[in-house]
Symmetry: C2
Subunit: 334 residues, 2 copies
């Protein structure tokens, strides 16, 4: 099985972040106990030993590589907030210092977001859902293991995400961070979007309109990307207005990524995608290109990115990496 | 389909608690938005409307009745801590008053525990797991709806549990409560126990010994009951020693309940159980009676209950309902 293709940097500094995230993810579900000594905040999660087969299934899907868009976004949003000056620091008279615990919190939030993303991929790939056998160039979890193990590995990753957030250093609101992630991931967010998407499958007319399609995509894909961005603000101690701006930026970015994915799915090969190509069309799913055509879809994505970039105004030049990331979303399939 | 049998009180005061829990669960996943006006803390969970089919599936499994052992345990543990005197109140000079927000926190924790329990039942019943079609006298979620919807309803209930805990009134540690629940529910707890249990199925000798069977049951069943009990202590602001005592009590109680379930499964009819009877034996699962015989199993359960009751010493007479609950665990199948 070929390795997943390594994409170019999504924004300046992305490659280093991606490597850091890979190490943290590997430590979050270590091959053997105890966890990596360099990440002591991941210790002591275990009242009982984690079964080896479960651990292997969790690692199979979690450590399959990829762009790590969501955790990188959390870290980039955190960095932007901290670099935006000390205008919203807790102690406005203190020197501007990013203390290690702040950065550690940012990494925990980033890891939690990727755990939720990975759980959603494992469950989406199951036979009763999208029934996909290939993901990031590797067999999906239930193909490599079995359905029951894949189901439980997803459950365990989702639970671990909240456990990791529960151990944030308490200089920020643990409750607000968990609410942000759970709200995005749950019945009124990602899970709800998935239910609506399955209902629309094979019956595109049931979706009714582009507006409904957008609601589905905003819930299914956009909500978690919005939360990833907002969490960067939460763990930086940013004021509510900045957290809200980051959430809107992420929501627009997420929808633009989804439209770009639809466009890619039309044109790319399975090898380039690292997953089965042309599947959306075969499944009779309503997509942006099916509704608005290729040109109209690209224009919609560009409008969203323009909105996303506009919303970063309060962060000034510190948000340049986030602006570069937004432009990548629409430029990558050219 | 006959309604699930309503059991007698597990301890004095249990019936009233059960009714209160039923109302809170119905409000946690309301039939229509907005949520019940009497429970304002459940509002505003929704960035997007929850799809009707998802909502119906969540309610189908959540509102199927039953003893509500776990949430009742959380409330009883909370009440015991608050009644134990003000020796561990935050303000030792203040009058002993259970403020409404304290009790509201206890109900949130109780609801969160039952959401996690219900999610685990939905996933356990799926065809790739235990493939069960009957639960609490009603068709299981994937039979009443479909597999994809059941899978997602479980995911949504698990996520909602953490969201509800994230909104605890902040006079207690939100992080500690979420850590307690996630630790019990995750890879090193309930999910891990389920994986080990499936591995042992049809191959009882792989379990090797009674000790291994006990580890599986402590993880699969005991961990969540232990967390339910400990959470009552957390939300009461009890000191660590009391929280630990409540956790041990719950762990022993949970294992005793599992042994009693094994004994019931041997003897009872499907109608009395509200689920398919004799299933464990048919599946070749290793059970306590299979390993120790009926008499030996009953003795083991009684030992565990004696340990559970001993551990309640620090709470004095305030823990009498918890002692009654422990005795119920071993007496109910007589």
């Amino acid at each position: 099985m070929p390795a997943s293709p390594v994409p170019a940097e999504l924004f300046p500094g992305h490659a280093a972040m991606r490597d850091e995230v890979e190490a943290a993810l590997a430590a979050a579900v270590p091959e053997t106990d105890p966890p990596h000594a360099d990440l002591p905040w991941l210790r002591d999660f275990a009242p009982f030993p984690i079964p080896g087969r479960l651990r292997a299934a969790m690692r199979h899907s979690l450590l399959a590589g990829g762009k790590r868009l969501r955790p990188a976004l959390t870290l980039a949003a955190f960095d932007a907030c901290r670099a935006a000056g000390d205008s919203f620091d807790r102690d406005p008279n203190g020197p501007f210092v990013v203390e290690p615990v702040w950065r550690e919190n940012a990494m925990r939030a980033a890891v939690a977001v990727e755990l939720v993303h990975t759980y959603s991929l494992i469950h989406d790939d199951l036979p009763c859902m999208d029934d996909d056998s290939l993901r990031r160039g590797r067999p999906t979890c239930h193909v490599a293991f079995d359905e029951a193990t894949a189901l439980l590995a997803g459950d365990a990753l989702l639970t671990l995400a909240f456990q990791i957030l529960s151990r944030l250093h308490p200089h920020i609101s643990v409750g607000a961070c968990i609410d942000e992630l759970a709200s995005a991931a749950g019945a009124a967010g990602m899970v709800g979007g998935q239910v609506e998407d399955l209902a629309a499958e094979g019956d595109p007319h049931s979706v009714g309109s582009g507006k409904q399609l957008e609601v589905i995509h905003r819930a299914k894909t956009g909500a978690l990307i919005a939360a990833a961005s907002a969490l960067g603000g939460h763990v930086a101690g940013a004021p509510t207005a900045v957290v809200n701006a980051l959430r809107s930026y992420g929501a627009n970015l997420g929808l633009a990524f989804q439209i770009a994915d639809d466009l890619l799915d039309l044109s790319a090969s399975s090898a380039a995608l690292g997953k089965t190509a042309g599947k959306d069309v075969a499944a009779g799913k309503l997509t942006y290109p099916a509704l608005y055509g290729e040109k109209g879809s690209r224009r919609r994505a560009e409008d969203l990115i323009a909105q996303a970039i506009d919303g970063l105004e309060p962060l000034g030049a510190a948000a340049d990496p986030l602006r570069a990331l937004a432009r990548y979303a629409v430029d990558r399939d050219r």
